[in-house]
Symmetry: C2
Amino acid sequence: MSNTRKIVITGSHGFIGTNLAMKLSKIKDISLIGVDSCISGSNNKMYTDHFMKHYQFCLTNINQLKNVLEGAHIVIHLAAKGNVIDSLKDPISNLHSNVTSTVCLLEAMRISGVRNIIFSSTGGALMGNTKPPVNEESLPSPISPYGASKNACEGYLSSYAESYNFNSIILRFGNVYGKYSSHKIGVINQWIRRVIQGIDLEIYGDGSSTRDYIHVDDICQGIYLASERLREKSTHGILEKYHLANNQEISLNQILNHLKKISDKPISSKYYPTRKGEVYRNSSENKLARDKLGFIPKVAFGEGVKQLYNWIKNEEFDLG
Amino acid sequence: MSNTRKIVITGSHGFIGTNLAMKLSKIKDISLIGVDSCISGSNNKMYTDHFMKHYQFCLTNINQLKNVLEGAHIVIHLAAKGNVIDSLKDPISNLHSNVTSTVCLLEAMRISGVRNIIFSSTGGALMGNTKPPVNEESLPSPISPYGASKNACEGYLSSYAESYNFNSIILRFGNVYGKYSSHKIGVINQWIRRVIQGIDLEIYGDGSSTRDYIHVDDICQGIYLASERLREKSTHGILEKYHLANNQEISLNQILNHLKKISDKPISSKYYPTRKGEVYRNSSENKLARDKLGFIPKVAFGEGVKQLYNWIKNEEFDLG
C-alpha cells in the first residue's frame, strides 16, 4: 500500500501557495496537486510546475474539482481575493471568489469523500477594530467585505465539521510577507519597489497604524504543522482555529525605519487620509498555535524585510 | 414636506413578513413596499395586498431592487430560506438565497443611498451547540449551512456599517411561531396539523431537545422597536445586535404536553434518531433587547400554541 499523501493546494499560483509547495515538495511521500483560477496575475507557476501538476479553473466548477480531488488526503485552501481595498470597490466579485468558491469546494469535497481541509483565514480583517491583541476567543467584527468573506467561510467550515464530519483547521494569518510575491501590492512590497525606484512612499494615516507581520516561511511551517495535526486525528468532526501571527504590532513608521536602514538611497514619503475598511491596529496572540501545533515563528521582522528587499531587487529589477 | 416613511420589507409574502406588514399598516405615516421571490410557496399575499404593493423578483436583481428602494427610509430584510434540513440537502441553493441575495441587497442599498437596515438573523442556528443561554457576547459556531448563511450575512452587515456608513440592527430571533404560517413546516405547525388529522407525531431524539420559542407578535413588536431606534439615530455607522427570544428552553416533550391539553383527541408519537445539523438545546438571553429596545415578550407559550392551533384548524382545515 502506498503511503504517499495527495495534497491539493488551491491558489497554487499564489504567493503563499508557491512558498508552501516548494516547502512541501522537499518532504517524502507527499504528492502535490495545484488548482488556480489564474485571475491573480501571478507568474509563480514557473517556480513549481517542474514538480507538481497545476489545474486552471474556477473553484465554482464542482465537476472539475471532483476529478482533481479524487483520492486526496487533504485540501489546503489558499485561493482568495485578498485585497481589502479591492473588496470595497466590488464586494460581489469578492464574495464570489472567496465565499461562493469556498462553499463549492466544500461541496465538491463532500461529494468526493475528502474530509480534511486547512483554510487560510485572517486575523486583522476578521476582527476589525477590536482592541489588539486578539485571540481565538475574540468576537469577529469585520469592517471590510474582504473581512466579511473570511468570516463567512469560517462559519461554513464550522457547519461542515458538524453536518458532514469534516476535519477542519482554520488558520488566521497575520499580514504575510516574503518572496514569490511579485504580483502582490501589500505595503511592504509596494514600499520596497518605490524605494528601489526612488519614488515617494504613500502613507495612509499618520504612520502609527499597525499590523502583525509574519514571514511566509513561518506561515508555511504553521500550515505544515496543521496538516500533520489533521493526519494524527482519526476522529471526524474536528474544528480548530489558530492565529498564526507574531503577537507583535509593527507600525508603518517602523517599516519606514527598517527600509531606511536597508536602503542606501534617501527615502521620501507622503501622508494621505486613512482609507475606509482598513483596520487601524492589529496583532494576534499565537499562544494556542504554540501550545497545540508547536508553532514558533522564527523570522525576525527586520531580517525578513531585508530578505524581501533583496529578492525584489533581484527578481523584479535585475532581470534585464 | 411629507413625513411618510417608506419601509421596504423583503420576504413580504412570508410568515413574519405578513404579520409585520399587518402590524405596521396600522401605524400612521408609514408606506409599505414588499419584495418577494415567491419561492416559499406562501399564499400570504392575499392578506396584505389590499394595503401594500408587492414586487416579485429575486433579490440578486440589483437593477430592479434599485427602483424599489428609491426614497426608502429603511429595509427590513426578512427574505431567506429558513429550513435547516433543506440547507443540509442543498447548501449552495441556501447560500444563494440567503447570502448572495443579502450582499446584492446591500449593494443595491449602497447604490441607492438607502442606509438603514434591520436584518433577521437567528439565535439557535448561529450559535450551534454553545451551552444555553447564549447572548450577544457568545461566539457564533454554526452547525448547519443555514446557520452559516446567517453568520455570513451578519459579517457583511458589520462590514457595511463601517465601510459604507450603514445603520444596521441585527435581530437574532428565537424559534418564531404563530399565525399566517400555512407554508411553514416547523415542528409546532407540523405537530398541530398531525394532531388535527390524527397522525403520529415524529420526534427526533428522545424529546428532550429544546428551543427558545417566541410568538410572532412579540417578534414584530421587536422589529418595530428596532425600526424606531434606527429612526432616532442620526449618526451613520451604527451596528447593533439583539437576541429577540424568551430566555426559556421548551422541549419537544413539553410541546407535546401542551398539545395534549389543547386537543380533545388522543395523540400518539414515534421517536426517530436525531438529525445532523440540528441544535440540541437552545435559549437566548434578551436582556440587551429589553434594556436598549424596550423589548418585552408578552405571549405565554401555552397561550400562543393554543391560538396557533385554532388558527390552523380554521385556516387549513375548515375551508371546505
